[in-house]
Each structure stands twice: as structure tokens, then as C-alpha cells.
């Protein structure tokens, strides 16, 4: 097992290096000079001497291989560099913003499970009924409507028309817990709509499959109470594929909450990445993409190791 874990870890490290190199190359090869952009704000032409001075100060005038080696050296020391815009440490900003995005995703996941799981179970237990058909259609709609449409509608109805909640924004939890949760509610609910539909559909199909299994029929024949059968024998066994799909979606959301963060002014990691790309802030782009990639690689590594732990055939393969 240890040998297997070591092999997988080496592969994971190699993947991180590949990602770091690709990100470095891509961001440096696309057009757009951060020094020029930084000094060209407001539609004014910067003094070329000032641009040259800034390029030198930021180290952008050095040959690309030299910049690459410096970047790898910094990475090896755990240094993600500083923003080209205001020299703010990238790692510090990621540490601030990553929890906000994770919080958004987790809140959305909780909402999605709270809604999708019971409704999926009910729909499966009443498969073919009116309720099942209505819920299935609604789930289809929820999965098809883009988040920015749901988000914009939510702002229009709940903030602009009804004035129940703020239109968007962010307040740190430690400063104003209630305000923080109020501002979290709409973006989390917006992400949760599509996610709940996924959970609903997976739960429904998975439960339908489990309901036909022999051990369920045996339990019914033995006279076990219906609620007990559903909770202990059906839902429990049907949850494995649901959790797998949910986990996959959550991983995708790590870098995919851009639109929701934009629509609700939620200062998370995705919005930070978009701003960094627009400004060609190389250290920020490379730092954010790298952190997201490392999280993915670590998740995969954890899953691989878990599989190996559960199934000895995997580690001997």
C-alpha cells in the first residue's frame, strides 16, 4: 500500500508541474502586456519610458526561460509571488478568497441535497405519478436555465421589487454574521437550483434501481416497516452514485462560480481569476490556477488511495 501511495504521489507531483508550466506558458503567450495595461488606464497613453521602467521593476523584461526558472524556484519555496498591480501577496489573497468560494459551494451543496434528496426519493417512490412527472419536468428546466439567468431574476424579484434582501455584496462573518448569511443566501440558492436538479435525478434513478433489488423484496416480505426499508435499505444504498456525481459537480464549481460571483458581487476565487486574466496579472493568474489544480489533483489522489484501500485489486494492478 505504501509503495502504491508513493507512486501515486509522484504522479500527482508531476501533474502539478505540468499544470504550472502550461499556465506559465499560456499566460505569457497570449497578447497583452501587464505594464502597458497598468499604465494605460482611462484611455490615456502612458509614457513609453515609464512602461519600460515598470517592466524592469516587475521583471518582465527578463528572458522567458529566466522568468520560468524564477517562477519554479519561488513555487518550490511555496511563494506564489505578488500582484503586479499593487504588490499584494498572491497567496494571502487566495487564502482570503478560497474559503469564500468554498463556503458558497458548500452552502449550495447543502441546499441542493436538502431539496434534491427528499424530492428524488419521493418521486422514485411515486414513480409515474403526477408528482413525479411535474418534479421531473421542473428538474429538467432547472438544469437547463443558466445560473446568470436565475441569479439576475433573483436579484430583480427579491432585491429590486420585493426588497427582501440586498442585491449582492459581501460582509465578513466575524463583522456581521446575520448580514453575511443574508448575502450568502441568494448566490448559494442560485447555484443550488441546478445542483438540486442533478441530485434529484440521480437520487430518483438510483432509488428506482435499488427498489428492484432482492434484499428490498426480502425486507418487504419480512414485513419491515416501509419507512425503515426506505431509510435503511434503499436510500443508504442508493446514495453512492449520488455522492459521486455531487462530488464531481462540486469539483467543477471550484473554478466555475464565475458568473454567480459576478452577478452577486461575491468576492470569491473565480471572480479574482477573471479580474487577474483581464489585467494580465501573471502571478495572480498562475497562483489561482495552480491552487485550483492542486486541489483537483489532491482530490483525485485521495480518491485513488481510497479505492486502493477498499479494493486490494487496485493497488496490485
Amino acid at each position: 500500500m505504501l509503495g502504491y501511495a508513493a507512486r501515486r504521489s509522484v504522479v500527482a507531483l508531476g501533474l502539478v508541474w505540468v499544470v504550472a508550466t502550461l499556465v506559465f506558458l499560456v499566460i505569457h503567450l497570449i497578447p497583452g502586456d501587464p505594464a502597458e495595461l497598468l499604465l494605460s488606464q482611462g484611455g490615456f497613453a502612458p509614457d513609453p519610458a515609464a512602461v519600460a521602467e515598470l517592466r524592469e521593476r516587475l521583471g518582465l523584461d527578463r528572458p522567458l526561460p529566466e522568468q520560468y526558472l524564477a517562477y519554479l524556484g519561488d513555487l518550490a519555496r511555496g511563494d506564489l509571488g505578488r500582484s503586479l498591480l499593487d504588490e499584494h501577496p498572491v497567496a494571502e489573497e487566495i487564502a482570503l478568497r478560497l474559503p469564500r468560494t468554498l463556503e458558497l459551494i458548500l452552502a449550495a451543496a447543502l441546499l441542493a441535497v436538502a431539496v434534491g434528496l427528499p424530492l428524488g426519493t419521493l418521486a422514485a417512490l411515486r414513480a409515474g405519478g403526477i408528482g413525479d412527472r411535474v418534479l421531473s419536468v421542473l428538474a429538467g428546466v432547472a438544469m437547463s436555465v443558466p445560473v446568470f439567468v436565475i441569479g439576475t431574476l433573483a436579484v430583480l424579484v427579491f432585491a429590486q421589487k420585493l426588497r427582501w434582501v440586498s442585491a449582492g455584496g459581501f460582509t465578513p462573518f466575524d463583522r456581521d454574521p446575520l448580514g453575511h448569511l443574508a448575502l450568502l443566501a441568494m448566490p448559494a440558492a442560485t447555484i443550488a437550483v441546478g445542483l438540486a436538479a442533478v441530485v434529484f435525478r440521480m437520487t430518483r434513478s438510483s432509488i428506482l434501481e435499488v427498489l428492484g433489488r432482492d434484499y428490498v423484496r426480502t425486507a418487504v416480505a419480512k414485513g419491515v416497516a416501509p419507512l425503515r426499508i426506505v431509510v435503511h435499505h434503499v436510500v443508504r444504498n442508493a446514495l453512492i452514485p449520488v455522492v459521486t456525481v455531487l462530488a464531481l459537480h462540486l469539483g467543477t464549481l471550484l473554478g466555475g462560480t464565475v458568473l454567480v460571483e459576478y452577478v452577486f458581487n461575491w468576492p470569491g476565487l473565480s471572480g479574482y481569476l477573471v479580474n487577474a486574466v483581464e489585467a494580465r496579472d501573471y502571478p495572480e493568474v498562475m497562483g489561482i490556477v495552480l491552487v485550483i489544480s492542486v486541489l483537483f489533483v489532491l482530490l483525485n489522489l485521495a480518491v485513488d488511495l481510497l479505492y486502493a484501500l477498499l479494493d486490494p485489486r487496485v493497488r496490485h494492478a
Binding site: 502597458e36 482611462g42 521602467e53 432585491a159 455584496g169 458581487n265 471572480g271
Partner: protein, 506 residues
């Protein structure tokens, strides 16, 4: 197994929904105004140009020798009076003002500031201009004598720029210390900035507000929603599509001015736009009303001449429609240039900003009507800037505002001797325009100066160094209870943050 909800409980729950609003998220502090910014300032470095949102914050924290009043006229800020002395010197008499660190403003601070901007390693926006200063003399603590290397009538306007504030010399090596009406209390990077009133501000009784909370709303629709929902008291960059709804809302006030403008730049380093007749043909081919309607929802006006505002004393009425929509003339000019059969070219703009993209699409259609097949190139803004700076385009759509209402601000767009830049045409150098710009810069007599810029516009009408397209309305919107805030006229719209010192909230 059944899940039963009592009907009464359901109805009660539904009825309670409207009371679930979370007042904590929008709780207002008396005397503190919440301001919806269009973006979070990348930095508030005093001498850098980091965009208009940053400039709005900068004028709250820092102040220069001069600034602008609500009427758009120059006024003394840290200087109580100023004037020329001979052809090259300017004398500024300083007020009794205090910096945020409690130290008094002296002429030494002014000298130190100018030296920082002009320094060899400086990346300040006005480095080149301040390198034109031969000497900063400080005969006493309250007098600054600025000796320029060459006569320059625009020095007062330079000194009024938000990129040229006066900073305490105690700032060396640390944070910039200004003398503005507000101080930075805290910053939530990328989210918001809290400013508090500076109790030793040099204008007695000001600022009226206790503080300002500036929150960045990058999405323009969310910015409007935040105002309508009551989350913020005032917003900048009101999107054109929302202006009508806001102006009809009895709880809100809309304050707009036509200041920024859209225009076309040409690559004159190669054919066919090296020929002034072809550039003029393009200028006459475009129906500007269509741009105002399509890109700005009717909130703006056509611009068929150089961007000199109608309210400016330098406005020349006879050139108002110099590049009027005239497809027949456009075709005639193309025929004269040997391009009667039409031609193809690239039209650079950006998909990142709707107004640039929409303007380009309208331009493309009108060019097609006179036989010019313009292929749109719509990369992101950073790429568009890079391509523009390198001259990798034939035609390009651009939008900006001048740095003041003074016609010398046109230099940024039509002075062909300046370095290549995405804001001006590439390789279009008209000697007479350059001579006239230089003449206008050193002419102290107002009447003669007007004549110079009139001739300049006459030359520009024929040579078409850029082609004006449309003035666009720039708007602020606020709750009715907000008083004292004013959108400054024309190109000065981005200086409107100066009026926060007189703003109050009821």
C-alpha cells in the same frame, strides 16, 4: 409513510416570508454615505493613473494645488491663488492646510512631490510633464515658484489633475499622506473601502459627511439594483439602458453629462488609410445617430468634429457637422482616392465592453454601404490595447474622455509625434496640427489661443487624424436624500468625486 404539512402552517410560513429580510446587510450609519463604485481601485497610488474609480477615491484622500468647482472652472485647492510670472514661471500661494498626519502643508512638500513624479525611476502618469520643470523654488513656506523649461499655459490644468496631488514629504518610504477631506479607515481588498471625515480639512465646515463606504459593483445591472434596493445611496457609471427608469423613479435622481466620447483611429502607416481622403470618406460614411441609439440607448449625441464640447469656449460652431453623414460624398472621396470599387480592411474593437462592440457593429454596417468591407476583430480589452499599441489594425473603435475641457487635451489623440498608442491613430502625423498644438500650449492670450484651436480644427476636418463618432452620456444616480453631489460638466465628469466634500445625506 407520509409527509403531512398542515395547511395553516404553510399559509403562516408564506405570510412570514416578507419579514425575513435581513436589515443587517444594508444597515445605514447616520452621516455615512454608501457609494457604489464601478470597480475596485487596483491601487490608490497618488501619481499613477489606475482608472476612474481609483481617481474618484483619490480626490477624496488627496488634494492638489488646484482643482475644479461645480461649474467646471479652475479653483484653488491647496493653493489659494496662482498666476504666471513672465513666460515660463508660475507662482502658487499655499493655504493653511494640514496633512492627515497632522503636519502643516509647506512649499517643501510641493517641491518634494514634483521631484518624486519627475524622478528617473518614476512611473508617474505626469513624469514627462514634470520633467519639463526646470526648477521648483520655495522662497518661503507658503510660496512655490515653478519654473518651466518652456512656456506652458496648461500648467494650472496639470496642477488640477487627480494624478498630481500634493503629498506630504513625510510619506517617503511609506504610505502616501494626503490632505483631502477624507482618510482611509479600512480596506477590504477587492470589496470595499471605508473612508472617514478628516477633521482638520482646510475648508471650514467640510466635509459634511462623517464617512463614505465605497463598495465595488463591477456588474452595472447589480449596481443599479443595489441603488434601487436601497443598499447604496449613490452610484457611478449608470448604464445607459437604466437611465430612463432611474429618471422616472421618484425616489432617485439622475445626473448626467456628455463628456466621454467614441471615435475611430486609423492605421496611417499603410494603405489605404495613409490617404486623408480615405479617412475622410470613412468619417462621412457613418450615421452617428445610429451609434447613439444602438450603443447608448439614445443617451448621448453625434460627434462629427473634433471632441471639443459645445459648452467649451473653444467650440467652433461652423465645424459642428464637419463630418456629417453623407454617403454620396464618402463614395466620391473613395473614387478620388482610386478606391471607387471598394476595399476590405480590419476593424478592431473589443467584445469586453458592450459600447465598444455595439459601436463597431454600427460602423461596420455603414462602411459596408459605401463599399468598405470591414472585418470585425473583437478580442478582450488587454489584447485590443496590445494590438492598438503595435499598430496591428486598419481601423479601430476607441472611447475615452479628455483629461480636461481644455483643447490641449486633444494632444493625447491627435499629436502624431507622441509614442504609438492605442488611443491615437498609428502613423498619422500632420505637421500643421503639431505646430498648432505647440502654439496653443505656449500662447497666454486667450483670444489668440482660440484662433489657434479654430485653425487646428479646420486642418483636422480635412486631414482626419481621428474621426469623432459620439458623445456618450456619463451618469451618476443617487437617492433623493443625497444633496451637494454634482456631476461635473463635460470631460470633468470623472472629477465629480471632488464634490463629496459638500455632499450630505438626509
Amino acid at each position: 409513510m407520509s409527509f403531512v404539512t398542515s395547511r395553516r402552517a404553510f399559509v403562516a410560513g408564506a405570510a412570514a416570508l416578507p419579514f425575513l429580510r435581513m436589515p443587517g446587510a444594508r444597515a445605514a450609519t447616520p452621516g455615512v454615505l454608501t457609494f457604489g463604485l464601478s470597480s475596485f481601485p487596483p491601487s490608490i497610488e497618488p501619481f499613477a493613473n489606475t482608472g476612474t474609480a481609483a481617481a474618484t477615491i483619490k480626490v477624496m484622500i488627496y488634494r492638489g494645488l488646484l482643482s475644479y468647482g461645480k461649474d467646471g472652472l479652475l479653483r484653488g485647492d491647496l493653493a489659494e491663488s496662482w498666476g504666471p510670472e513672465g513666460q515660463t514661471a508660475w507662482v502658487f500661494k499655499l493655504r493653511d492646510a494640514t496633512f492627515h498626519n497632522g503636519e502643516k502643508l509647506t512649499s517643501a512638500d510641493v517641491k518634494w512631490t514634483i521631484e518624486q513624479i519627475a524622478a528617473e525611476k518614476s512611473t508617474a502618469f505626469f513624469r514627462k510633464e514634470m520633467q519639463g520643470v526646470a526648477a521648483v523654488e520655495t522662497p518661503d513656506d507658503r510660496t512655490v515658484r515653478l519654473v518651466m523649461k518652456e512656456p506652458n499655459v496648461t500648467v494650472p490644468r496639470l496642477m488640477a489633475s487627480y494624478h498630481l496631488p500634493i503629498i506630504s514629504k513625510a510619506s517617503a518610504g511609506g504610505e502616501a499622506i494626503g490632505a483631502g477631506p477624507f482618510k482611509v479607515k479600512s480596506t477590504e481588498r477587492g470589496v470595499s473601502m471605508e473612508l472617514e471625515a478628516f477633521d482638520k480639512y482646510f475648508r471650514p465646515g467640510l466635509p459634511k459627511l462623517k464617512g463614505i463606504r465605497a463598495i465595488a459593483y463591477k456588474d452595472e445591472n447589480l449596481r443599479v439594483a443595489a441603488l434601487q434596493a436601497g443598499d447604496v445611496d449613490l452610484i457611478e457609471y449608470v448604464p445607459w439602458q437604466s437611465m430612463e427608469a432611474i429618471s422616472k423613479d421618484p425616489a432617485l435622481t439622475l445626473d448626467t453629462t456628455d463628456g466621454p466620447f467614441m471615435y475611430l483611429v486609423f492605421n496611417g502607416a499603410k494603405k489605404p488609410f495613409d490617404d486623408a481622403r480615405v479617412r475622410k470618406a470613412v468619417a462621412h460614411a457613418i450615421n452617428r445617430d445610429d451609434i447613439v441609439k444602438a450603443a447608448f440607448f439614445g443617451r448621448g449625441s453625434g460627434l462629427a468634429h473634433l471632441p471639443i464640447a459645445e459648452g467649451s469656449e473653444f467650440f467652433n460652431a461652423e465645424y459642428k457637422d464637419a463630418w456629417s453623414y453623407d454617403p454620396a460624398l464618402s463614395k466620391k472621396l473613395l473614387t478620388e482616392a482610386g478606391l471607387g470599387g471598394g476595399f476590405s480592411c480590419s476593424l478592431l474593437s473589443t467584445a469586453q465592453y458592450g459600447m465598444h462592440k455595439d459601436t463597431a457593429e454600427v460602423v461596420q454596417q455603414h462602411l459596408m454601404a459605401v463599399g468598405i468591407n470591414a472585418q470585425l476583430n473583437l478580442p478582450d480589452w488587454a489584447t485590443r490595447v496590445a494590438l492598438g499599441n503595435k499598430g496591428q489594425y486598419d481601423l479601430a473603435v476607441m472611447g475615452t474622455a479628455a483629461d480636461s475641457n481644455d483643447p490641449d487635451g486633444l494632444s493625447n489623440f491627435i499629436d502624431g509625434t507622441l509614442s504609438p498608442s492605442y488611443v491615437r491613430s498609428h502613423g498619422v502625423k500632420v505637421d500643421r496640427i503639431i505646430e498648432l498644438l505647440q502654439a496653443g500650449r505656449v500662447e497666454f492670450d486667450e483670444a489668440k489661443r482660440k484662433a489657434i484651436y479654430k485653425e487646428l480644427e479646420k486642418v483636422a476636418v480635412d486631414e482626419v487624424p481621428i474621426a469623432g463618432l459620439a458623445w456618450r452620456s456619463q451618469g451618476y444616480a443617487m437617492k433623493k436624500g443625497v444633496t451637494g453631489f454634482k456631476n461635473l460638466p463635460g470631460a470633468l465628469t470623472f472629477y465629480s468625486g471632488l464634490t463629496f466634500e459638500e455632499t450630505s445625506i438626509g
